[in-house]
């Protein structure tokens, strides 16, 4: 006797399972949103840092760098760059690009003003303060 | 159905024993509770789910699951 295996049962399991696990995802996301204030460093999300995030986005920095491990893997992790390098180094580095060393990877110069550089650094400072469960493993990112 | 009813009573007794066992001697607790759990699980699998009489090639999966889970839990209690 062959086992009963009907398309309608399979379909019900698909729809039921999909709804069930989507609701679970929504539930966990809801809890995450409740917990985030303790972890996401929102108290340091200043106007300046918000402007910095805008600069980060409109220069497509994610096209080369990672931020908290997400992005391209062509250039260093910047989620913790504030800790690794400090504000002055970051600004000087951005201003001195591209290095023009033959054969080396090049970063474009975005001609940022001092105010924009400060905003970007504020954004990195805010990012470095996010509780990332101790990632990355060390300061090199 | 008499069998099922008897097993139902058995399961309730084993549950009561599991709950009360928390106050018995500590060293004895874990093996006792695990054996209770294993018996209860096997009863549900065999007689409630009805896998004892199933002929499918897949029927071993659920008892194997119970064995692995209970065995794995038992193992971790030997670690500490």
């Amino acid at each position: 006797m062959s086992s009963a295996f009907t398309k309608s049962a399979a379909r019900n399991i698909f729809y039921g399972g999909a709804v069930f696990f989507f609701l679970l995802l929504v539930g966990l996301s809801f809890d995450t949103m409740q917990t985030l204030p303790k972890r996401d460093n929102r108290e340091n999300l200043s106007e300046s840092a918000i402007r910095g995030k805008h600069i980060w986005e409109t220069r497509n920095c994610i096209g080369c760098h990672t931020l908290l491990g997400e992005g391209a893997y062509f250039a260093p992790e910047l989620g913790n760059v504030y800790t690794r390098r400090g504000p002055e180094f970051i600004k000087a580095w951005i201003q001195s690009q591209p290095t023009g060393v033959p054969g080396r990877r090049q970063m474009p110069n975005f001609n940022l003003t001092d105010a924009q550089l400060n905003d970007l650094v504020e954004f990195f400072k805010y990012t470095a303060g996010i509780d990332t469960a101790k990632w990355p493993p060390n300061v090199e990112g | 159905m008499k069998l099922a009813t008897a097993l139902w009573v058995l399961l309730l007794i084993l549950t009561a024993l599991t709950t009360q066992s928390a106050v018995i001697a500590a060293g004895f607790l874990v093996p006792f509770v695990l054996v209770m759990t294993y018996i209860k699980g096997q009863v549900v699998i065999d007689h409630f789910m009805g896998l004892r009489h199933a002929t499918s090639r897949l029927r071993w999966i659920v008892p194997a699951w119970l064995l692995v889970v209970v065995g794995g839990i038992a193992y971790t209690f030997t670690l500490s």
Binding site: M1, S3, A4, F5, T6, A9, A10, N12, I13, G16, F20, L23, L24, G27, D31, T35 | M1, K2, A4, L7, W8, L11, L12, T15, A16, T18, T19, S21, A22, L29, V30, V33, L34, M36, G41, V44, I45, H47, F48, M49, G50, L51, H53, A54, T55, S56, L58, R59, I61, V62, W65, L66, V68, V69, G72, I73, Y75, T76, F77, S80
Partner: protein, 197 residues
């Protein structure tokens, strides 16, 4: 009750897995998830015994035990329901299923009371690893009870309207198998999280 009725129907004819094979894929997947979570709990506990033991003391073991009894009994009622439909007794089948669902509902109420107490005490999934498992796994199982009740309700409704017969009742077995799985998982979950230390 005639002689045939006292014997499990399965003795008469060899059967494959009860119900529809499709539900068994779902059951296997669910068991896998729960199994991995149980072992994860056990290994996490072994690495942090004091924390787990101390946190466990805050649980209401009696509430957990009552809930175990409720689920086991409802599982038994479902067995009765399947037995009835095998004899073509649609209304009796639906009655037993409603009884099982009532106990499931009681489980949900008790569980919610338990959770409400924990939330009132400021305990969340992020409190510590023990409570991550207690609340997370408890809630996950809670959702399974809800889903199981929806399935049973659907089956009961169809049974009441005469949608199943002694010859054709795979749908009842399908729902029953899922409900027994929910019960089986709780049978392991209760001693693991509430009792063993």
């Amino acid at each position: 009750m005639n002689i045939a009725a006292t014997l499990p129907a399965s003795h008469d004819q060899p059967r494959t897995l009860p119900g529809d094979l499709a539900i068994w894929f779902f059951i296997f997947a669910e068991l896998l998830v729960f199994g991995v979570f149980f072992l994860a709990y056990a290994f996490a506990r072994a690495r942090n015994v004091e924390l787990f033991d101390a946190s466990q003391l805050q649980l209401d073991r009696i509430s957990g035990a009552i809930n175990t009894a409720l689920l086991i009994s409802s599982s038994y009622f479902v067995v009765r329901a399947v037995d009835r439909i095998r004899h073509g007794a649609s209304h009796a089948c639906a009655g037993w299923l409603v009884a099982a669902m009532t106990l499931g509902g009681a489980f949900l109420v008790l569980k919610l009371t338990e959770f409400a107490g924990k939330f009132a005490a400021g305990i969340t999934m992020s409190t510590n690893t023990f409570f991550m498992f207690y609340i997370g796994l408890g809630f996950f199982h809670f959702m399974h009870v809800v889903l199981g009740m929806i399935i049973l309700g659907w089956v009961a409704h169809k049974a009441w309207r005469g949608g199943y017969s002694a010859a054709n009742h795979a749908g009842v077995e399908t729902g029953a198998s899922y409900w027994h799985m929910v019960d089986l998982v709780w049978i392991v979950l209760f001693p693991l999280i509430y009792v063993m230390h």
